[in-house]
């Protein structure tokens, strides 16, 4: 098509130069081409290409894509290939497709048009191929880019994909994870106070994500309260709510001891009911990683993990590190210590000497809360270890639970449950991996909070909108003031201003 156009032009140029006349015979060609072509042929060739290029640029502007490259490929490919017919039909039919690609909103992209070029190409590939076999379905050349009218995810399919992923992961756990997982029994001492909801919510969500069956024994100081009961009821975790007769004391030292007694109570419950599984002590303010629950499945009788101790004070950290401490900062980890062959040789404890002057004595005091020597949360054991009947295989180095605490002595750490601490198994790569963190953050003992964290009836404290931090414009200040006062004195009236209320109870 373009060859003929080109020849017409050059013919026109030849005729005009020969006759010396004005117009060339070029029917559709721009007059400038023949006019500018003088007698010599050299400049006419270059101007011819220039004008052709200009024409192609104009067409590209109109069409919206680079047209010239395509045509030049065609032009030059004509000299090399023999199957131009195929490529031209491909181009012409797909040109419309590429048009619709660039305007996806106005046209629905034709999904079927790519079938068109196949017919001519099939015959050609028959001729080209050396095999005498049946026609090829696959065509060389330009194809359309198929885009469906609504290229966005479908929610049902997304849900199906997520279910597939879940099932794949379950299968992975079955294949590569723990072979015969044992259920977990988690003991948590708690009591109703301001920060209880914060701590328990975190713990509940953690236990919900544990992939093993969990029985949660919650021992509450001061008896069963509605606070705790309502939190547990919504938890969707299987739990046992056990009351403990004493109220939680205000001093930290006393609180640690009370918690120990509560945990022992939990252990006695397990013993009475002969519950089976792995016993884990999860304090409500501790933070656990899900790896911990996979790791403790490895325990035989009694195991110990490293606990990261996050001792902090309420205010800015005033502990000044000595030079020595700056070079070798103390590692805030409590847990088993092993020798090079992986055997337990001792225990890392938290170095509390820097804090000894400034530690908190009362709950809620803004000073550093110190952990005990060996935190209970760092130990796990097989529930069968504390059963009444001496199970076969229960080691002799375990003390009988009834004998502990009968003389009124305090149980500092679970190591009091065993005769020989060297039988404890170090878990988590011999204590090198820290999978849970001990933290104690509490409000003052006398701080008040709305019961169940539901504000009912609405608060009586009113904060005037004038005291909000954002700036008011001066001209509106007066009218807004009136409106605010009206709103606050008569709570039933509808407020017309769009000012955001800080109190949810005020909006009617």
């Amino acid at each position: 098509m373009f060859h003929s156009h080109g020849t017409r032009r050059s013919n026109a140029a030849a005729r005009s130069s020969a006759s010396g006349g004005l117009e060339g015979g070029g029917v559709g060609s721009p007059a400038a081409s023949s006019a500018s072509e003088g007698s010599s042929f050299r400049p006419s060739a270059s101007t011819f290409w220039l004008l052709l290029h200009g024409l192609c640029c104009l067409i590209s502007l109109f069409l919206g894509f680079r047209f010239s490259r395509l045509i030049f490929v065609l032009l030059f490919s004509n000299t090399i290939y023999t199957y131009t017919t195929t490529t031209t039909t491909t181009i012409t039919s797909t040109r419309t497709e590429t048009l619709t690609v660039s305007f996806p909103l106005t046209h629905t992209p034709p999904i079927e048009t790519a079938v068109k070029p196949n017919n001519s190409a099939i015959e050609l590939s028959d001729k080209m191929s050396n095999q005498g076999s049946s026609h090829s379905q696959v065509v060389v050349g330009r194809h359309g880019i198929r885009i469906r009218p609504w290229p966005h995810p479908d929610p049902t399919e997304v849900m199906r994909a997520h279910r597939i992923i879940e099932r794949v992961q379950q299968e992975q756990r079955k294949w590569y994870g723990v072979k015969s997982p044992r259920p977990l029994i988690v003991i948590t001492p708690t009591y109703a106070r301001t920060f209880q909801a914060l701590h328990l919510t975190g713990l509940i969500h953690c236990l919900r994500n544990v992939p093993y069956p969990v029985t949660w024994i919650v021992v509450e100081a001061g008896g069963v309260t509605n606070e705790t009961a309502s939190l547990l009821a919504r938890s969707r975790v299987q739990f046992l709510h056990i009351p403990f007769h004493e109220k939680m004391p205000v001093e930290w030292a006393e609180r640690h001891l009370t918690e120990n007694r509560m945990r022992l109570l939990g252990l006695r419950v397990i013993r009475e009911r002969n519950m089976d599984g792995i016993v884990l002590f999860a304090d409500d303010s501790n933070v656990h990683s899900l790896d911990l629950f996979d790791e403790i499945q490895k325990v035989q009788w009694m195991g110990s993990v490293s606990v990261g101790i996050l001792a902090h004070s309420g205010g800015p950290d005033r502990t000044l590190l000595t030079e020595d401490e700056k070079l070798n900062p103390p590692i805030p980890v409590q847990g088993p210590a092993c020798n090079s062959s992986g055997h337990l040789i001792g225990w890392h404890t938290f170095n509390s000497i820097p804090y000894s002057e400034k530690s908190a004595t009362f709950v809620g005091e803004s000073a550093t809360v110190l952990p005990g020597k060996m935190e209970w949360s760092g130990f796990v054991f097989n529930a069968r270890m504390i059963w009444k009947e001496a199970e076969e295989g229960r080691p002799e180095w375990v003390k009988d639970l009834d004998k502990i605490g009968e003389n009124g002595e305090e149980i500092e750490s679970p190591l009091a449950l065993v005769n020989d601490a060297s039988f404890v198994e170090p878990l988590g790569d011999c204590g090198k991996k820290v999978m849970l963190w001990w933290m104690r953050v509490e409000a003052r003992a006398d701080s008040k909070f709305p019961p169940g964290w539901i504000i009912d009836p609405p608060l009586e404290i009113v904060v005037s909108a004038k005291r909000t931090p954002w700036q008011e414009s001066d001209d509106l200040a007066g009218s807004k003031l009136e409106q605010d006062d009206r709103r606050f004195t008569r709570p039933k009236s509808r407020s017309s201003s769009k000012r955001k209320n800080t109190l949810p109870g005020q909006d009617n």
Binding site: I147, H152, V158, Q172
Partner: protein, 385 residues
Amino acid sequence: MNDQRSAGDVLEDDPVGRLKVFVYELPLKYNKKIVGRDARCLNHMFAAEIFMHRFLLTSAVRTLNPEEADWFYTPVYTTCDLTPNGLPLPFKSPRVMRSAIQFISTNWPYWNRTEGADHFFLVPHDFGACFHYQEEKAIQRGILPLLKKATLVQTFGQENHVCLKEGSIIIPPYAPPQKMQAHMITPDTPRSIFVYFRGLFYDVGNDPEGGYYARGARASLWENFKNNPLFDISTEHPTTYYEDMQRAVFCLCPLGWAPWSPRLVEGVVFGCIPVIIADDIVLPFADAIPWEEIGVFVAEKDVPNLDTILTNIPIDVILRKQRLLANPSMKQAMLFPQPAQPGDAFHQILNGLARKLPHDKSIYLKPGERTLNWTAGPKGDLKPW
């Protein structure tokens, strides 16, 4: 598991004792000197030709007596003339191959005896022995006329295509085994990515509008799924590429300029179900590996519906595919480890050659009979090298 055993049967055949291969001694300019000029040839996806030579030199199937050989191997590296970017230029390859064949036909009588019917060559380039990277030009050239009778071992495979001869053995592209081993993560890491792909969607340098590259399939993938959170697809190549594949359920293996890609090998090794989007492709060792049961095949015209297709696969089918992929003999068959190990791709190639034995008596030409045309092909190919 029954599934695992049935898939691995043929893969575990031992070729030693079933065939004998004679390795021609070509002058170093055909092999060692080429690699010496550019060591990058040892790491790119066409490196199988070099490693196969090294394997055969020390293999138990090698024989030094050509009279008892079943197969003859010509160690000529035709895919080692690299651009600064590391892509092989095929322009000299026909001359190199021709020169090598001339050498062996003049110095040994075995080529002329059968005109190469009991010889095999490794041609791992884009379109095999058509020796060009552009499909139109490759089709136009066709397979080198001198290789008309020989067995070709190549990575390219597409049904009813000029560049796939009947009887060719399709092999996987080379993927560096040590590098993949170094990036292994524990198998209990949960697979949380649904579909994964890293690579080009538009070849901006050669085909900016799209439509030529990958027959528009990759561009279609991008346009349809770039906003879909289930599809982790992008052109950025992260350092955690191998680790990410091990955390994905499906790995896309769409065609590029040629239908084959190393993604298939990576998918199989990392346990990610390959989603093959290349019409009429012939996959490696198709007679030994049940690709239909391991991978998912999607027609190029169905790419816009890929999410519907993948989410509608029944879950037990997916689990079964993953179980089959976990079969270590499947992974081993895709790799070219150094030194060679039983069941690896080298052995699968030999198994393939052994399955073609014994040679039909008709391959031996009668005296004076000639069928190969030594002057066929473009003029440029006839220049000596």
